[in-house]
Symmetry: C2
Subunit: 500 residues, 2 copies
Amino acid sequence: MTTIQRLDAALAAHIEKVEHYKQVQTLLAWDARTGAPRKGASYAARAKATLAGELFKLQTDAEFGLRLEEAAQQEELDELSKRIIAEHWKTYKRWSAIPIEEYQAFVQQQGLANAAWLEARAANDFSIFAPHLKQIFNASLKFAGYWGYEQHAYDPLVQQFDPDLDTVTLDRIFSELKSALIPLIRRVTSSAKQPDTSIFNHPFPLEQQRQLGIELLQAIRYDFDAGQFGATVHPFSSAINPYDARLAAKFVENDVRVSLWSALHEGGHSLYTQNIDPNLIHTGLGIFTSYGIHESQSIFFEKFIGRHKGFWENNYFILQKIKPETFGHVSLDDFYFALNAVKPTFNRFEADELTYNLHLIIRYELEQAIIAGEVDYEGLPEAWNDKYEEYLGIRPPTHLEGILQDGHWSAGFGLFPSYTLGFVYAAQIHKVIRRELPDYDHLIESDHIETITGWLTTHIHQFGKSRSADELIKSITGKSIDTAPLIRYLTDKYEQLYEL
Amino acid sequence: MTTIQRLDAALAAHIEKVEHYKQVQTLLAWDARTGAPRKGASYAARAKATLAGELFKLQTDAEFGLRLEEAAQQEELDELSKRIIAEHWKTYKRWSAIPIEEYQAFVQQQGLANAAWLEARAANDFSIFAPHLKQIFNASLKFAGYWGYEQHAYDPLVQQFDPDLDTVTLDRIFSELKSALIPLIRRVTSSAKQPDTSIFNHPFPLEQQRQLGIELLQAIRYDFDAGQFGATVHPFSSAINPYDARLAAKFVENDVRVSLWSALHEGGHSLYTQNIDPNLIHTGLGIFTSYGIHESQSIFFEKFIGRHKGFWENNYFILQKIKPETFGHVSLDDFYFALNAVKPTFNRFEADELTYNLHLIIRYELEQAIIAGEVDYEGLPEAWNDKYEEYLGIRPPTHLEGILQDGHWSAGFGLFPSYTLGFVYAAQIHKVIRRELPDYDHLIESDHIETITGWLTTHIHQFGKSRSADELIKSITGKSIDTAPLIRYLTDKYEQLYEL
């Protein structure tokens, strides 16, 4: 018997309906980004908006709110039911706080901002995007006002994605990482020992890359009967429910690393979803608990498994089998070094493990500077370039490689920190898992990744949203979020690899 | 300005919402039959059922009904707006007539019947399926009672799909076809001249079949930017709107004809949808007008284009290019004869052009026999086999090749006649188009299919559901449905091909 049946029947039915709409929304988004035809996009968006409006109404329905309040006061309620109610109550409060016209205007404005970004890119002219960005950010801040905060307007914005984080903590995390990483990157890039990465740029037919992706997903035990492996222009995963956790990789003929990393990264997201307790489906808790924890699992599989040398001892043969003319005569050591090459780039998406967080630090610092009024929208592109020059030693030649590289800011403030939080969490988890599974390296070398996934399922995946990020990380590591394991991991690994 | 804006704003908004739900339903069905994972199927079905319930409520909303009634009485209304209102009024009346619990029970029963069919297949035991079939058919007849009819309970059932048809007309059509086709099939199958079809059974890798499908769809000018070409186990097309008309073919390694015909057939359906006037989107009329007319367009492209020798004069090189080892040394004449081989089969889906209608005549006669009480559910499998023996000279060795070959009857009575109606309509249209475009053969031979599609768009496609099947066929041919052109076409073609 599923937990939700212990709840009042009308309440449970309403929650199930909400969950059905959410699942369909996720599926429509998947379709829009994978198979949907170009010409149908605007009509599909209209249909999706209609359903999103219905979902909003269901989530903020006054009678639903009353039922939730009543249910929350029942003393005999079990812990899980309390969590279910708290989750929907939080959503109810969040969206009820915003006048529906403002919410609808914001959603529409997001679409317009994204279109303006495309136009700005075509003209290489940030001033086309700037007024939209301003509108979006101002609306975000207005929402923050509706939601309320104690210290910083950014707090409720980041808490949409990572409820346990706040600006003070983020400031600390980013500052610690910056202090450690910038000098380390300088040492690595000025090392005499450097890898040859040209092997990755040999043409690699897309159909063969797809085959590689399938075999790598099999290697990490992705369940193809509970998901789908698609293609797209910006990799993503769709967490519909534990029995339908899809992922889409990006395929680029002249850089096999793009599909390789995106399969492992999105595969990690999807493994998390597939391992959530199915009894949580239709409760609202059958999904990742926070964006940071979600990202920690994708990063775990991409970096702590996929960049582990033992993984390639097992799986390098796949590349050699599929593309013998490129990889047949390259040793595992050379391949592994090339795979872990450090090279500052303009784009987060192409970034290596070491420079990755700098991209997010820059985003975060710019967001804070905007809120503090330290930079205006006209000055933003140069502020962006200055930071790339200061932290990574490279300056984007045009804004296309700089501030116009993606349109993610069209969605609003607060999402970017999750990417770094995920890496920090993953390193904390990795440190503990190595202690608790002393044969960790051997498990990977001997193709027993299911033991590691089993550990992650026991300690993280199964709970879905029934435990918070902070509860999970404290129960695993004994403390809250902490950058030390990540800094230690990166320092040790790259000092050794680059013989510093 | 789209027509719907001339309607009352609240009415237009409600209609648009209905259309959004319908589009999403079609997309969910597409997903379930193409990429969706096996393990998620039951959860996806539940979410889809929730949305179907909402759609039902929207379509039968009492206030909506009142508004439609009011609008219908406005004298100054233009013709198109009248059609829009009439269409939604018809749906409103149809579904309002059925108690919602009975409707929901029927939908659930359809799912159970399909599951029972799978079980019956696994056990090769029709008695597992029989009670479900009985329940489904009885519910269909009960619905027919709610809807009312003058002559025959089958009338309102077939009119769900083909509003202009009735049992008297169907009896005539099937009887005329049977009288003409059975002797013709006997003459053809006993001819001394027979084709060699073994070329189609050489292994043909699925990826190459997909390439073939793409090139054939390009040949008939399918717009890939307004659709998608997928793979499935039972070919189908999804008419979401003119900008999103998808199709899925079936791919079988040892019979390339399956994907070849399904691409052309479903491609024909999708061309119809793509050519509907986009102003009809969100009115309820932006879709095929009846199942019979929809089928006429798939059959037109599959049979009157795809089985035209001129089409292969142009496109045979694609097969020869993709599979030179199989087709390189086969002449166009031999290929063409093999492609048009007549051979009675147990399965409609594998049927050639000549035996195809017999499968539907058998279904229809059995449906009528059930309604008339001339056969009971226990006797149905033998009645099925007897008819195959009588009409096609073959008797299914087991019920797996017989009555259990598909689970389509799980949906209820009345859909099968559309397949034959489509062929009859297509032949009528083909006769007129040859008269109006005297260089028809040359247009196909010289790769100017867009001229033919243009004619079909002008006379059929563009109107969507704003003209009825009977209106269309009368305006094109000057008369109603008529089997003579189909009988003439098949007789001439196969007498010549088999040198009778």
